[in-house]
């Protein structure tokens, strides 16, 4: 356990981050006000300065997480060696997924635990919320395959209880949170801990065992969250995200862990909970009123973390725990779909932020989540207010006094606006540069192909994310508007696969963004032509949005965006791929009594 979780340490980290972020926000707003009000103060200048404050504060707050991550102590992982004295359920919730691929993950994790000789301490429960009967029938067939594969017949014949369970709910009440709750209410009494996964999660046996040991060693610990690494990405978009998650996220997570102390996060998967703590504190009610603000809580994980903390349990993020993996979206459309769901979930937290007894930090986390989705609106408002201010700015008066002999030139404050823009850009780039320098100093850069490759990956990711950002901003703005207008996004199943898009698909998703880009450029050209240079970095990506969406879904290959998992495939992922290949050759329908099914060696 590498990070400080003491309340005073967390308070100091929060105070430092808050102080610097507010300071930078005020500084940027003051500087901008001097520029904006150079031709006389108008109401719109105040609005623009306020927007600069909010957006700069928000960027600085994010940057401070990386600074905190870099300055907080990072000891090498000190894994425990205590005996396992508890029982753990490994929960794999599924919802209209490809059962062969998902169940092979279960098999791979069991292989990993078997290698360590501790498999007896762990049971696997596949908790299906699949509503499609055809997929449900496939799940049953593949579960039978998994059962035979993991030698459960022999176990049962010896009078032992099976270690693999499958349950499918006819109605997916409460979605994933309801699915997990149903398990606890049915079988929770049999287990000390539960490892909650997603259908795309994979974890090394060693990591799972270490999590159990840490839970055993800290009786006050209610939830232990790992930082999952994204793996298996193939597209330009997916691999850029995978690189960013592998290269930057550990430092950001370290900073987050330092700031939140024992009021940590729950990201819904790749986390272990103490069954008793979770059962006592985390049964979620439906919120009153209709969706999107009422009904089932979509982003249940944040609420569950807050409820555990409310009940006095520690919730901790241990970023040093390696061997925790997930998959990410492969293209911008899938990312936007997921983001739409997260947006609704986070905005729904407006209803929960005032829940009785919550810790102050938990309320702040809700506020932070809400702000992260509202922030794009502030950027849009900032852009619009600048266009308005420039278009309505009074003509300079060179002879304000009657019978004045020499003209008075207005004070040129452009350098201040440039200063703010450079500062804002710096807040975006500075953390990444610091992380690169830190990686070089610590030698971590070798895992990403060395200094030159990592620098190339960083630059490519920076350019790609700068082009993507205005397009994402439009999607986020639309998502917020939809939620505010009461449109429920539902609960679409995750799209898996290589994610490659055709141009018509990209165009269908991005034409309206392109239209907005044309409108913004035309308005700027007509009413504020001297702002054109400032608007181009936003306007051009919007105009070519369909092309960007299409191009970023194309395959990408190393060395750019190289990650440690691509250099040396983790054992559990190797096992998973081997099992999927093996199962591909074995139709599940041939599983008959006494059939010889190839047992996967541990």
């Amino acid at each position: 356990m590498s990070q400080s979780t003491s309340p005073s340490g967390a308070r100091s980290a929060r105070a430092l981050a808050l102080l610097i972020s507010v300071g930078l926000g005020i500084g940027a707003a003051a500087l901008f006000l001097q520029f904006g009000a150079a031709d006389g103060y108008q109401m719109v200048d105040g609005v623009r300065a306020a927007l600069v404050f909010i957006t700069t504060f928000w960027l600085a707050w994010g940057a401070m997480q990386s600074v905190e991550g870099l300055i907080s102590a990072r000891k090498p992982p000190a894994y425990l060696n205590t005996p396992l004295t508890s029982r753990t359920a490994i929960l794999m919730p599924v919802y209209n997924e490809d059962p062969a691929v998902v169940f092979a993950r279960v098999a791979a994790m069991d292989v990993s635990l078997s290698r360590l000789g501790v498999a007896e301490q762990f049971d696997f429960a596949i908790l299906s919320d699949t509503q499609n009967d055809r997929v449900g029938a496939e799940e049953e067939r593949w579960f039978v395959h998994l059962w035979s594969d993991r030698g459960q017949d022999a176990r049962v014949a010896l009078g032992k209880a099976p270690r693999f369970f499958y349950r499918r709910r006819a109605r997916n009440i409460g979605r994933k949170a309801g699915n997990i709750q149903d398990f606890f209410e049915t079988s929770g009494g049999q287990y000390d801990f539960a490892l909650i996964l997603d259908a795309d999660s994979l974890m090394e046996g060693e990591t799972i065992v270490e999590m159990v040991r840490r839970m055993q060693a800290a009786p006050e610990l209610g939830l232990l969250q790992t930082l999952p690494r994204i793996t298996g990405a193939r597209s330009r978009f997916g691999r850029a995200m995978q690189f960013a998650a592998g290269f930057y996220s550990p430092v950001f997570a370290q900073g987050q862990a330092a700031m939140q102390g024992v009021t940590g996060p729950f990201w819904g998967h790749n986390a272990m909970v103490r069954v008793r703590a979770f059962a006592e504190s985390c049964a979620l009610p439906e919120l009153s009123g209709p969706p999107p603000f009422g009904g089932h809580i979509l982003s249940h994980d944040y609420v569950e973390a807050a409820l555990l903390a409310r009940a006095g349990w520690a919730v901790r993020l241990d970023p040093d725990l390696a061997g925790s993996f997930e998959e990410g979206p492969e293209n911008m459309i899938d990312f936007a779909k997921r983001d739409r769901r997260w947006c609704q979930g986070n905005l729904q937290h407006i209803r929960v932020i005032s829940a009785p007894g919550l810790k102050g930090w938990s309320r702040f986390v809700f506020f932070q989540g809400i702000l992260s989705y509202v922030a794009p609106l502030f950027w849009v408002m900032f852009l619009a207010s600048n266009l308005y201010a420039t278009a309505t700015a009074p003509e300079p008066d060179f002879f304000p006094e009657p019978f004045q002999l020499f003209p008075v030139f207005p004070s040129d404050q452009t350098s201040k606006a440039v200063g703010v823009a450079v500062g804002v850009f710096g807040l975006l780039v500075f953390p990444k540069v610091l992380i690169l320098l830190d990686a070089i100093a610590r030698g971590r850069v070798a895992e990403f192909g060395g200094t030159v490759t990592a620098l190339r990956s960083m630059m490519t990711e920076l350019i790609q994310s700068s082009i993507n950002a205005p397009i994402m901003l439009m999607w986020q703005t639309r998502a917020v508007m939809q939620v505010v207008m009461g449109r429920d996004g539902g609960w679409p199943a995750q799209t898996r696969g290589d994610g490659r898009l055709t141009f018509p698909e990209a165009y269908a998703a991005g034409w309206w963004i392109q239209l907005w880009g044309i409108v913004v450029m035309a308005l700027t050209h007509s009413f504020a032509p001297n702002l054109m240079l400032w608007v181009l970095p936003i306007g051009v990506p919007l105009v070519v949005a369909p092309l960007v969406i299409w191009m970023t879904s194309k395959p990408s290959h190393p060395p750019v965006f190289l990650t440690p998992e691509e250099t040396a495939l983790p054992q559990v992922i190797t096992d998973h791929r081997r099992i999927v290949a093996l199962w591909d050759d074995t139709s599940p329908s041939v599983v008959v009594p006494n059939a010889q099914v190839a047992e996967i060696p541990a």
Partner: protein
């Protein structure tokens, strides 16, 4: 020859039916054995909704802060 082929066909169909039944029975047995263990745990429903005004009133610091802020606006509005 035609009758022979038909007989072979129906024998094959019967064998396939028997095999499908065997697979079905086997699947049902496994799914029965793989039901979740019965060890229920009570999960008391949590209270998470409270009107914001009530939350503010019950948080003295927040209440005072908002009071000071509101009266500040009032004084400014009256031009003092």
């Amino acid at each position: 020859m035609g009758t022979h082929m038909m007989m072979q066909g129906s024998l094959s169909d019967a064998a396939q039916d028997a095999r499908a039944r065997a697979i079905g029975t086997r699947h049902a047995e496994i799914l029965r054995a793989a039901r979740l263990p019965h060890a229920p745990l009570a999960m008391p429903r949590q209270v998470i909704e409270r009107p914001l005004a009530e939350a503010v009133a019950q948080t003295p610091f927040l209440s005072r802060l908002i009071g000071v802020f509101a009266s500040g606006i009032g004084r400014t509005a009256r031009g003092r």
